[in-house]
Amino acid sequence: MATVNVSLSLSSTDLFAKQTINFTETDSLSPAGDQMLVGRLITTATNAFDNIALKAIDGTNDRFYIFMHNTSTTSGEHVKIGLCQTHGTDSASGDLFAQLAPGEFLFMPIGSSSPGSQDLDIQPSSGTPVVEYILMEKATA
């Protein structure tokens, strides 16, 4: 089983008058699914959906780790991230849960017992921003 090390550091001196933010979290992950992807995707078109998984995420509750980075530097090129309940279908309006502005990233353990999370899709609000991602399925079916 592979080991993936992740760390997240957050800091700020001006968000709060009486609380300074400064901490680092680390974790050692052991993804054991049958789908591990490193991808770079030039999105298709404004408001078009692009799926990122090669096949349906499976395992209990369709769980996977996702790191995603909107590499665009053009103002307004946001990308919306939606949960695809079934692989090969687009997300619906209620499936949208995140958006990345140019330069932003996310890291999340995705999973859903209801309605399912067999894939994610990316929908740019403008242009064709490039999104890089690492998808690691947690377990096999």
């Binding site: 592979a2 080991t3 700020s12 968000l15 790191f67 209620g94 849960f97 995140a98």
Partner: protein
């Protein structure tokens, strides 16, 4: 309320996830926080029945897809999972014990959490964008 800046750095590495490549990536960003709802580091005991909101007031910003906020959350428990759902009770994330996440939520007025069992503690930070 004056704007604030949240500096974020994320690193991911692995020598054995793939045979042909080694993963070693670090990204950084300086995020401008200009929303009206800033919630510093908070801990909350969850339960397996009803969802609990982690946001004090409804997320209401209009940036891009709207209702945007940066969220850090960690499952500090050693046994039970945390389950995160949107404002339609649709589950989108599950944190095993010790796992964390960082992401910009959008398009939802709230983010909810409950446990898979028992009463694990969630640690979180929520910073709204206008």
């Amino acid at each position: 309320m004056a704007n604030g800046t949240l500096n974020v750095t994320f690193s991911i590495s692995s020598t054995d996830l793939f045979n042909c490549i080694t993963l070693n990536k670090t990204v950084t960003d300086a995020l401008v926080i200009d929303g009206t709802n800033r919630q510093g580091i908070t801990t909350m005991v969850t339960a397996s029945g009803s969802y609990l909101d982690i946001n004090i007031e409804a997320l209401a910003g209009s940036a891009a897809a709207g209702k945007k906020a940066y969220i850090y959350a960690k499952n500090t428990d050693l046994v039970d999972d945390l389950i995160f759902a949107d404002d339609g009770d649709q589950i989108f994330a599950m944190l095993s014990p010790g796992e964390f996440m960082f992401y910009p939520t959008c398009d939802n007025t709230k983010v909810q959490v409950k446990s898979s069992a028992n009463t694990p503690t969630v640690e979180f930070l929520l910073l709204e964008v206008s």
